[in-house]
Symmetry: C2
């Protein structure tokens, strides 16, 4: 239902075998990209996914490793003759940064719209899902993002029949719309059961751990969180540079009671992040030290297992 791919897992600079951290979500024909560093479009192509269906790009902050791939992404979309608008969401100053980077991508066959976040928490309603941006704690203004898909209650056939409503109206009600027939208004709650658990993915990088992150990631199906350093002894460095250790990220996952944690945004000096997976698992057993391209198919809770794809 909701495909998530962690396109890259590096922080600071791209490495030959580690792309910069970014995430792509595919849902219902549209795609959401979070962050776009140098080489992100290559990571998308490696995964076999396409840049064309991306209709929203969320930028966490304006450090180059999170946005330097923007001109290339825009031009690749343009080369594919895209005409649909692209919405870019990001911190205050976004329009100026995007305009400045577009000095090498001035002409595009599609409109680029910038939405600048102004609050500490802000919800943007998209077609069929919500994006919630929330401030995190880095050395520049930085946001985390949650993607949430709500799920209506189960359609109650007996209730619909009892209302005497023609079958051709059922689909509208099932999708949350009211209908008026012969002067009478039928609302979704008349035929839908209690709202069911939807899907939730929370993405945080770069930041120190904060209460607000734990609050926003609460009970997420997937929590993707930075872990710049694996070794817990690098705690002071993490604190100075406004990043986290694996241990700290795992602790956030535990407090937030998420279903699973994926670690990312490793320091270039961290050659074998997997060596520290046990540190994260000791606090939060469902922690995973991810590699580039790791993905999952999240399914609504009908007994189907989510499918992870290394």
């Amino acid at each position: 239902m909701l495909d998530i791919c962690l396109l890259g897992t590096g922080g600071m600079m791209p490495l030959p075998y580690r792309h910069l951290t970014s995430m792509m979500a595919r849902y219902n024909g549209s795609s959401i990209l979070i962050d776009c560093g140098e080489g992100t479009q290559i990571a998308i192509a490696k995964k076999g996914w396409s840049v064309n269906p991306i209709d929203v790009l969320c930028i966490t902050h304006f450090h180059a490793d999170h946005i330097s791939g923007l001109p290339g992404l825009l031009l690749s979309m343009g080369n594919a003759e895209r005409t649909e608008p692209l919405l870019i969401i990001g911190p205050k100053g976004l329009s100026r940064v995007v305009a400045s980077l577009r000095i090498i991508a001035p002409e595009l066959p599609f409109p680029v719209d910038c939405f600048e976040l102004s609050e500490r928490e802000q919800v943007i309603r998209m077609d069929g899902y919500r994006i919630k941006a929330f401030r995190v704690n880095h050395n520049v203004i930085c946001y985390g993002y949650t993607i949430e898909i709500d799920r209506n209650g189960k359609f109650d056939v007996e209730a619909a029949k009892a209302l005497g409503l023609e079958v051709r109206y059922w689909n509208l009600l099932q999708h949350g719309q009211s209908v008026e027939v012969d002067g009478k208004v039928y609302t979704p709650d008349m035929v839908l059961g209690k709202e069911r658990r939807g899907l939730k993915v929370t993405y945080v990088t770069d930041s120190r751990p904060t209460e607000q992150i734990a609050e926003n990631a609460k009970e997420a199906d997937l929590f993707i969180c930075e872990g710049m350093y694996g070794d817990p002894e690098q705690y002071h460095k993490a604190k100075d540079k406004k990043h986290m250790t694996f241990y700290e990220a795992a602790n956030l996952a535990k407090i937030a009671n998420v279903k699973r944690l994926w670690l990312t945004h490793y320091s270039p000096s961290l050659n074998y992040p997997k060596e520290y997976e046990s540190v994260a698992k000791s606090v939060f057993p469902a922690a995973k030290v991810c590699k580039d391209g790791y993905s999952i198919e999240l399914k609504f809770d009908d007994g189907d297992e989510d499918e992870e794809k290394p």
Copy 2:
């Protein structure tokens, strides 16, 4: 003596297994980079070379596939605590483009100096070599670059002895400097034989073939030239988009009487450029359809063979 690496061979957009076209030269402890698209710093790292010794970056033109990697390159140099200045050479408007892209790389621990080309042909003298920029024919202002290393004549020991000059002065004369001893001036020509053949590398992308290119590449040890299309039937497309076919590039190499031709800057639609190598070789037998990372060690002409490294 002069190491050349063709870091990437792609045009337009980076592909999972084809970096964007750029070239790096290493000579006498310093390095020259020509063009820096998205991912060029990754290609340098893959080769096992370093961004730190780069003291000159030449930009052919301001299309994103030739300059989008600049902010990342600058930041990686900064992360390595570089303090030496970087000289960037490029077309008119360079300072504005560099400043605009630096919105995401504003603070660097080293100075960045821009040198804007204003003539159709221009020579920049560096320490121990020359860079010659020359206008080519693309749909925006674009330059080709030649790197030339001169070589003094052979030192004539007998002539130096006959002058009665102490041995400690010989080295200065050998390296082209005059010396004054006891009021008498000794000039290099007194002890050096006829100037010997140096080394010459010419790099051209993106352009239609022109007389000026053939003139500037004349008798180069290595001519790196764009070949956007392999199939000679794509001539009209090449002409429209101001690029070349392999056939046209090979023809330039033939006219310029170069030692060898390396083709690069393939269209993303050209999946197997090697299939068209025979087309280039039919015109110019020393043509090679290169892959990313192809390199050569060019040696002064003392009977040593140049060493190619696929």
